[in-house]
Symmetry: C2
Subunit: 406 residues, 2 copies
DNA sequence: ACCATTTCGTCATGGCGATTGACAAATTAG
DNA sequence: CTAATTTGTCAATCGCCATGACGAAATGGT
């Protein structure tokens, strides 16, 4: 009966379907681990809390929580802030907070024209970041990744200087990822194929690689001000991607290919698409299509140009964006009727173009939705979504299994 | 700290997102309950098993499993079948099986032209059933439900006569359901509105009410021969509904309205739909639309007529079904690109028409899918899906919390 | 036929983790 | 200043699973 008490599973993550600590046998040690995790999660989520408050929240006794907290303080994951300001009668509790000197999540992003790395502490604060504008299109993986590695080293050192202990590295890439092997299967805009990031980033840190759209959606989930735990996140960095978050978990699909909103048919007899279909959304709302309709040449910083011209009143650009919005609205109608999310969040570059997309989008959308309406909101996270999502993913992993990281 | 050890949660169901026993505090009693459940699930799923085999499967020791099994035998949920036929060296184990005299699930179905009730034991066998052909269209709820209640009583009595103990009643209805209040919000084909089934079915049994499409999908999940735990189930009983099963759980959407495949836009400028949109799938593949295209009058047993004529070679009917299949294929393309299920299952009446729908459906479908293909399979469960799904839902509830039912 | 080997189920023992109940400490209300 | 209330902790206990040993029941080789 070989079983290890402190076994470190590969990378158990709460936001993964079915890995919310369910697979381990229900043994007492597993129970303790889960309870440690629940303490961390509640303290992290609901600000400074007394032991008694934590106990009430997670349904354990004060005594039990006390021992859990002791262990978490010993391992440097929780901090005692001192006595609470007494609001009610009775002895005031001593406030507990997640440590700002404990583990940190290192997030990284490989964009088509930039690299970025940051460190986020358990409280969710960005403590260090480093970036670099550089055109990575058609640049081979090796130089890009050595650049990235040096940024990572820099951020890790700075973080360590602040007393943080990096607990993992998560990388967001614009392409299809085989998460189990840390491999970028295909990144059209980078022209990467089957690139194993683990091989190029010789670091001891546990590595996670995922699509930037996924990390962007997770950022919205964890940091968004209005996003519920149940929404459809739409982004258009490369192609048009959607990520569905259901009940606080990311829906990846059986092969990890879920979210291909760009290839949902909008006008089935429309122009042919590279995917083999016809009239896919991407043929109407993809960057290339919009630029063509707007009469602009493809090139760098294209979204900025579009936003600029639209703001300046360029009618041709506005018409192009209106049409794109309408197509998006039609595709989203299908998605919403199918999935009934509580909201649709426009993220990534879409949020910059939202003012000109939204009217026609909501026109189609509102007209066609069967059930009661579904809110369309614009993300306020901005272009940092994938980077922050990646860093927070590591932080969440620590909260999910606190003892696993010591 | 009011907490009850044997607290019976409202109706915790494993196939519900987020209620897979995660909410209860991680206490030792909860651990025991989960382990009892795991023993039940393993024995139910993998046939007769020895204690040792169960232990190996769920990762507990033989001793621990022994005490769990003892308790389950005492409460009549497991049975000892006697010594196993020794296949290998060593002392043969004594085979354990789920009891065939223990709790039973009572499933019921309210169809537009029939009522049906059945009892399923823990082994999944249908032990009793009763049905009645009766046109329920525009019949008020009261007589329908008193008819149903009498069928339920009959089945319950017969089940009890066989030594079974009904553990719950689940009802499948063709309409929108508010599950928490056991209320049928709207059932167009029955012309029911805000009908509280609990009020009309005065029985002590715990009651579950759900849409027939959902129960149909669950039946496919639990009984289907080929269906993986990750598929999109399409049925067309009333309108066109889809149910998405992800990782063995039903995705209901934030308001319970997920699965409205019938109102996914196919040709956005198509005919107007009752939902307010235009060119919804239902305008092309809905029963009414297909009958119109086939030149047949609406009426009873329409699907049978369609199948008959198509089989007889009626070219107009075949063309209508071809077009419907193409429209279905387009809508499913969107759904599959978005969700990446492992398979699409055609259930309900669609399975009877599949021979004439499939060619055009797969034509559109295969041409447009972005990722690697997604299998289209035809359900072999037949029209009993919702009924069986309902009964099995009760059985699953027992497996999920064995002590909760004593 | 016999004995070594293997596997199964059970038992006594122990460890671990949460609960229980009590108590001192720290505050507010009067 | 006292009563009431809440917090954090301690000692004792209970529940549940792991451990290790044992007898029981089979195979297989000699």
């Amino acid at each position: 009966m070989g079983r290890e008490g402190t076994e470190r599973l590969d990378t158990p993550r709460e936001w993964e379907p079915d890995s919310r600590q369910g697979r381990l046998p229900d043994t007492q040690q597993g129970m303790r681990r889960r309870n440690l995790s629940r303490v961390m999660h509640t303290v992290a989520a609901h600000g400074p809390l007394s032991r008694a408050a934590v106990a009430a929240q997670i349904g354990l006794t004060r005594a039990a929580v006390s021992t859990l907290v002791d262990e978490l303080i010993r391992t440097g994951l929780l901090e005692e802030l001192g006595p609470e300001r007494p609001a009610r009668v009775g002895r005031p509790g001593s406030a507990l907070a997640v440590s700002a000197r404990g583990p940190a999540g290192i997030g990284a992003e490989v964009g088509v024209d930039h690299l970025a790395v940051c460190a986020v502490d358990l409280r969710g604060a960005v403590r260090t970041r480093a970036g670099r504008r550089v055109d990575n299109r058609r640049r081979p993986p090796e130089p890009v990744l050595t650049d990235l590695a040096s940024l990572v080293r820099q951020v890790v050192e700075e973080a360590e200087g602040e007393g943080l202990r990096p607990a993992g590295l998560a990388i967001a890439v614009p392409g299809l990822v085989a998460r189990d092997t840390h491999t970028v299967v295909r990144a059209p805009n980078l022209d990467w194929h089957d690139t194993d990031l683990g091989a190029w980033l010789p670091t001891e840190l546990p590595l996670t690689v995922d699509n930037e759209a996924n990390f962007g959606a997770l950022a919205e989930l964890w940091l968004g001000d209005a996003a519920p735990a149940d929404f459809l996140h739409v982004s258009a960095e490369i192609g048009i991607g959607a990520a569905l978050v259901v009940d606080g978990r990311l829906l990846r699909g059986s092969r990890g290919f879920a979210g291909e909103l760009g290839h949902v048919p909008v006008w089935p007899d429309g122009p042919e698409c590279a995917c083999g279909g016809r009239g896919c959304l991407e043929q109407y709302a993809g960057e290339e299509a919009v630029l063509r309709a707007a009469g602009l040449p493809p090139g760098a910083e294209r979204v900025a140009v579009l936003a600029e011209r639209a703001a300046a009143g360029d009618e041709k650009v506005r018409a192009a964006l209106r049409d794109a919005g309408a197509a998006l609205g039609i595709a989203l109608t299908g998605a919403v009727n199918l999935l009934d999310p509580r909201a649709v969040v426009l993220g990534g570059t879409l949020s910059r173009l939202a003012p000109w997309l939204l009217p026609s989008l909501e026109g189609e959308f509102g007209r066609r939705i069967a059930g009661p309406g579904c809110e369309v909101v614009v993300s306020r996270i901005g272009s940092d979504g994938p980077l922050l999502g990646a860093a927070h993913a590591v932080v969440r992993a620590v909260l999910d299994d606190p003892v696993g990281v010591v």
